[in-house]
């Protein structure tokens, strides 16, 4: 289909005899804010891994602006413009918050090993630009005061937000958020919802979010995909999903 920024086309992932994701298709247009929900073990994070290239697909294709990127390694896909956060926080814990963001800024590629080794003017210019960008990103997520702290020492909520800041340093077009609100208290969740919507508008992002918190998902997503046992069982607006009998059965168990 044309016009889609990003498509998952009939993707299946098997681990030995276990089918974690079965024939799932998703499609996101530019500017979409879409939710991916399902009970525990439904295959949501596996989906993210297939999309970002952390795991290879068994069958199916991943399309980026109509181009097949299934064979690209993870770091090349990231550079195309898809960035993600992790369900179990995967910051570089021993680095400062600022360095976590700076490391991902692709402007740094301009300076090679020799520039760093010999402290050339180019190294200095790149460092300055990267630091300014990283500080601006931290400010955008209200994390400036943590900039020089070790990332592993931050409280839980700021660590989750730092993951988002780090992903944004790639200047992605597609942002994949894996349970961004997990472990946050209600006011932090409210704050995060507003932040995600604001980021999408300000940075013209397309966002796919996995989240268990229904208020969060129903509150910000225009469309929702529902997975259960690795299969896509529903797709629609929040209202449609709320009334869908298959979804209710998947979450609460069927009455029969």
């Amino acid at each position: 289909m044309s016009g889609a920024l990003f498509e998952v086309d009939c993707v299946t992932k098997r681990y030995g005899g276990l089918t974690a994701v079965c024939d799932v298709s998703l499609e996101l247009a530019e500017g979409d804010l879409v939710g991916l929900i399902g009970p525990n073990g439904a295959g949501k994070t596996t989906c993210f891994n297939l999309i970002t290239g952390a795991d290879p697909c068994s069958t199916g294709r991943i399309l980026w602006e109509g181009r097949d990127v299934t064979a690209l390694p993870d770091w090349k896909r990231a550079r195309l413009g898809m960035a993600r956060t992790f369900q179990n926080i995967r910051l570089w814990k021993d680095m400062t918050a600022l360095d976590n963001v700076r490391t991902v800024c692709r402007e740094a590629d301009e300076a090679g090993w020799l520039d760093g080794l010999l402290r050339t003017p180019r190294h200095r210019r790149v460092e300055k630009a990267v630091t300014a960008k990283a500080r601006a990103l931290l400010a955008r997520l209200d994390l400036e005061r943590y900039a020089d702290l070790r990332a592993g020492d931050l409280p839980y909520g700021p660590q989750r937000k730092l993951e988002i800041a780090r992903a944004l340093a790639l200047e992605p077009r597609l942002l994949l958020l894996d349970e961004p609100a997990a472990g946050m208290n209600p006011s932090e969740k409210q704050d995060l919802m507003r932040t995600v919507e604001r980021l999408r508008d300000e940075l013209h992002l397309t966002i796919l979010v996995i989240e268990h918190d229904m208020r969060f998902v129903m509150g910000i997503c225009r469309r929702i995909y529902v997975l259960d046992h690795g299969e896509r069982i529903a797709h629609g607006t929040p209202d449609e999903i709320r009334r869908n009998p298959d979804v209710i059965a998947a979450y609460l168990g069927s009455a029969s």
Binding site: D74, A78, R90, M95, T103, V104, G116, L149, L170
Partner: protein, 344 residues
Amino acid sequence: MGASAFLAVTLGPTGMWWTHLLVMVGVYALLGLSLNLINGYGRMFSLGHHGFWALGAYAAGAFTVHTFGELPGPLAFCGSVGAAMLAAAVGGLLIGVPCLRLKGDYLAVATLGFAEIVRITIQNLPEDFLGGNIGLTVPRVLVVRSPDTKGDFQLLWALLLLLAVALVALLVRNIVRSARGRMLLAVAQDETAAGLLGINPTRSKVATFVLGSALAGLAGALYAHYQGTIAPQEFTFLEMVKMLLVVVLGGLGSITGCLFAAFLLLYVEQVLQLAGQETLPFGVPPLPASWSWLASWWSVVYALVLVLLMIFRPNGLLGSRELPDLLRGWFGRRKPPDSAEAFR
């Protein structure tokens, strides 16, 4: 002229002992710093650093032998250092490209095998090529004044090694605090996250490994020129253990720790060899002859220390801290931890 006037100092036995110690400390500090780049900052587990050291030493030796009499001394020296670093870097590339794509301990096994291949190959090549078992004699190309005295030679090399260590320590620090260095640290801490955020982990690891190998080659070149004779038996796995001890004792990811550990290890080693002697150089504590058994058991002692460190302090004594930070922590005014301040 100023330099030669400075070097006109005559070194007594004390001076010679200390300059020899400084040169050896310098060689092991270079090896430790370069291994720290790979094993400490990069968290890759290489066990073949002595192979790159040998490659560098023999490349420098062969270059010097073949150009002797044709090139002026300083040029021959610089050329041999270049050849050594190049040979070690190529070796690092050959072993790094296939192994660093894999995760886990493949690298340790492959590098260990590589180092053994280097040593045994040198041993078995015809003697007129690299000296075989007997060793290769490296002609002296850097002469301070003629006639050349042992004291001049020692002093020159102590200064050269100090310079090289200072330079390499600065380079390592620069690398680690640059954009590429941050990518390396990111890959070392969480390779999967690094890959998913647009960093090419293989490239980052290979580049670091090659750089570390080249610096080991530099150590080899300086060692070969200083010793004058190099033999395959000098580049065994025991040396690898010693280098690991320098890195682990100092701290994985600590430059000053590395320098301190190299000094401590070599100082104790050299002091033990003097156990029971009557006249001792200044700065050497007198040890009774009954201690000389420790000199013969020395390699067992340091291997044991390494094992104990690996069990109880796997990140090394200093971790990734630097000595000045540590001293400030001990003697300076105690500040509340930064994190406490930010949450206030």
